[in-house]
């Protein structure tokens, strides 16, 4: 066993895949130096023909990777800041993603878009704090958000080997995680397969990325009869989809067959976030004995700089506790409704 960090797991996966397959190459800003640490050492190991430092031209190097993929390479493109995906969105959503269908299956675009430091990073805020995995799921680009070092390794390997474009978000809240991992046990994790971190019988909490740690902590409190469960132990199942799209609906249905109650903890804006899709699908097709809940960012969230404001925009444990209590009938709790509502009459004026 060794202590493996999430960042190092991504680095290992890149190195292993570049070693295994000559076609794997890496594009991005400052990837040579490895400014995010994800690409550390790869330039020295594989050379400048396979590890390409790019100018600050996100559209061009994203499109360049599409062309390289069409011609037989398996590029990995790193973006230092999640918002850079907005610059490259045309090249991913409208080009890379559409090539297979619009060519009638003539083309495949095996590119991996790697986004370490997604979501909020303390002190960066606003234009460095987006977490747009739901946006890519909506478009239909395969989207993974690993929560642990072993899954970061396994999902990145699978993303690189996949014949379609895949976006991997490494939440900044998870990058520092370290786990005891047997290096020989690091294996590919198939896309589209969920993982249950903690089994439970009363409530299923679907938690995405770094929020899995919050869900586990809260589940522990409830198991011990705490978190105002009125002394009663509540058994919370922590369900990590790992892949946002394609989502493992089969596993979720099986979990809800056990619990019948659902809370989604999702670092997306509320409208159109993946949490909305999970609730809708559960309501349409799955076993529910209580109204489902979701804990998300607010609608249209822009994360302010001041720490208290930044945190107020992010889903938190208090909101999760309250949502779990509501699903088990422990009463309406308004603690999570603390954000001021826009007053319509003022807005109109």
């Amino acid at each position: 066993m060794t202590r493996l960090s999430y960042l190092k797991a991504l680095n290992l996966a890149l190195g292993d895949e570049m070693e295994r397959d000559e076609a794997v190459c890496l594009f991005g800003e400052d990837v040579g130096v490895g400014i995010t640490n994800v690409t550390a050492g790869l330039l020295k190991r594989f050379g400048a023909q396979r590890v390409l430092d790019t100018p600050i031209s996100e559209q061009a190097f994203t499109g360049f990777a599409t062309g390289a993929a069409l011609a037989g390479r398996r590029p990995v493109v790193e973006y230092q800041i999640p918002a850079l995906l907005f610059l490259a969105f045309e090249q991913i959503a409208n080009q890379a993603h559409k090539f297979s269908l619009m060519t009638g299956g003539q083309a495949r675009v095996p590119v991996t878009y790697l986004v370490p430091n997604s979501g909020s990073r303390e002190g960066w805020a606003v234009q460095h704090a987006d977490h747009p995995y739901s946006l890519f799921a909506h478009v239909g680009v395969k989207t993974v958000v690993p929560a642990t070092p072993a899954d970061a390794y396994g999902l990145l390997v699978s993303a690189i080997r996949d014949d379609d474009p895949v976006v991997l978000f490494g939440p900044s809240g998870a990058l520092g995680l370290r786990d005891d991992v047997d290096p020989a046990g690091l294996v590919p994790v198939p896309l589209g397969t969920a993982r249950i971190h903690r089994p439970g019988t009363d409530v299923t909490v679907v938690a995405v990325g770094h929020l899995v740690q919050d869900a586990l902590a809260v589940a522990g409190e409830f198991a011990a009869g705490g978190a105002e469960g009125a002394g009663r132990a509540i058994s919370v199942e922590v369900f990590d989809p790992r892949t946002i799209y394609p989502f493992d609906w089969t596993a979720l249905a099986a979990s809800l067959d056990r619990t019948g109650r659902l809370v989604v903890l999702d670092d997306s804006n509320r409208t159109g976030g993946v949490g909305a899709e999970i609730l809708a699908t559960a309501a349409e097709r799955m076993h529910l004995v209580a109204r489902p809940e979701r804990v998300t960012r607010p609608d249209g969230a822009v994360l302010p700089f001041a720490r208290a404001l930044d945190l107020a925009m992010q889903p938190n444990r208090d909101q999760l506790r309250a949502a779990i209590r509501r699903t088990v009938g422990l009463g309406r709790d308004t603690a999570d409704d603390a954000l001021p509502q826009l007053r319509v009459e003022e807005a109109v004026l």
Binding site: F64, T66, T103, G104
Partner: protein
């Protein structure tokens, strides 16, 4: 049909390709009017010499990216007109099995990496594919076609920079037809298109885009430059769009150039320019051969089957993954 450039780069071969594109487009417009091609096309009429001359300088394994006005490039690279028309008509026998239509019709087996409906967006794709060829030990090159309108897209300028820095074996072929849809080039482009390339250290030349042999000569040099490892170059081919930006104009009639201007633009015709260089008897034989080819292509397209609606999400993912349906349980 031959694989690779549609005909040899001799005068008769170049004539053959210009004439093929001309008649293909005219037949396609008839099919638009007949309702066989739905949604219209962006006719390549008037620009035939650019595609014919440029693609004649390419090897079969060289790569091309095309545009929304892309039929000429695809035909000049050697695509079968029958399967091309079938694609325009949305039939299963089209190159893209009816999934792409006019703006995306392309035969990847001929090195045509797609026709792109977003102005300028294929330019980095061509550069990346060219780079990948070199990585794989090949000396093949890529040719990126785009218009004067694309010269104002940031991604094109970003691509100039990348391609120059990394000496990518790509040839940028800008077809300056004087209009970005309805906006005149002089109103849209500050400085010059050639000047934009040379600012990145990319050799760039203006070319008479109404003369297939002039385009061919310039393209031979540009391709040799790229193949020799000397990096990208740019050809700005001055040409004329004889017809509409899109067949939609045939009924909508937006006023952005006068009838006199159009008539003046049509005086020097690239098909006639090249046709005058070969014996009349040979020209007549080629014309007859092309009519027969296109008669057969139209028949093939009209008689080909429409796709089954149940197959709408086929090919969405390269690995065959099926998305959830939009309705039902």
């Amino acid at each position: 049909m031959p694989s690779g450039p549609a005909a040899p780069a001799d005068p008769a071969g170049l004539y053959r390709v210009t004439r093929l594109i001309r008649r293909f487009e005219e037949r396609a417009i008839e099919l638009v009017r007949a309702g066989v091609i739905v949604g219209g096309i962006h006719p390549y009429l008037g620009q035939e010499a650019v595609a014919a001359g440029a693609c004649a300088a390419l090897r079969p394994d060289d790569l091309v990216t095309s545009t929304h006005r892309g039929h000429g490039h695809v035909l000049a690279k050697g695509a079968d007109p029958a399967r091309m028309l079938a694609e325009l008509a949305g039939r299963t026998t089209g190159f893209n099995r009816g999934r792409g239509g006019s703006m995306h019709a392309a035969d990847f087996s001929l090195g045509i990496l797609g026709a792109d409906a977003i102005v300028g967006a294929a330019t980095p794709i061509a550069a990346g594919a060219a780079w990948a060829g070199r990585q794989a030990g090949s000396d093949r090159v890529a040719m990126a076609f785009f218009g004067d309108g694309a010269a104002n897209q940031g991604v094109v300028l970003e691509t100039f920079n990348l391609a120059a820095l990394w000496r990518v074996p790509v040839v940028f072929v800008c077809e300056n037809n004087g209009f970005a849809t309805t906006m005149r080039t002089e109103a849209a482009v500050a400085g010059s298109i050639v000047g934009r390339a040379t600012a990145f250290g990319i050799p760039a030349h203006t070319v008479d885009g109404m003369d297939a042999e002039a385009v061919y000569a310039a393209a031979v040099d540009a391709v040799a430059h790229a193949r020799a490892g000397l990096g990208p170059s740019l050809l700005e081919c001055h040409t004329q769009r004889f017809d509409a930006h899109h067949t939609w104009e045939h009924t909508a009639r937006p006023r952005y150039r006068t009838d006199e201007e159009v008539a003046a633009a049509r005086v020097r015709d690239p098909v006639s320019v090249q046709g005058a260089r070969i014996p009349p008897q040979l020209r007549a034989e080629i014309d007859a051969e092309i009519e027969a080819l296109l008669d057969e292509a139209v028949r093939f397209a009209r008689e080909s089957p429409h796709p089954d609606p149940g197959s709408a999400t086929d090919y969405l993912y390269a690995d065959g993954m099926r998305p959830r349906a939009g309705a039902g349980r």
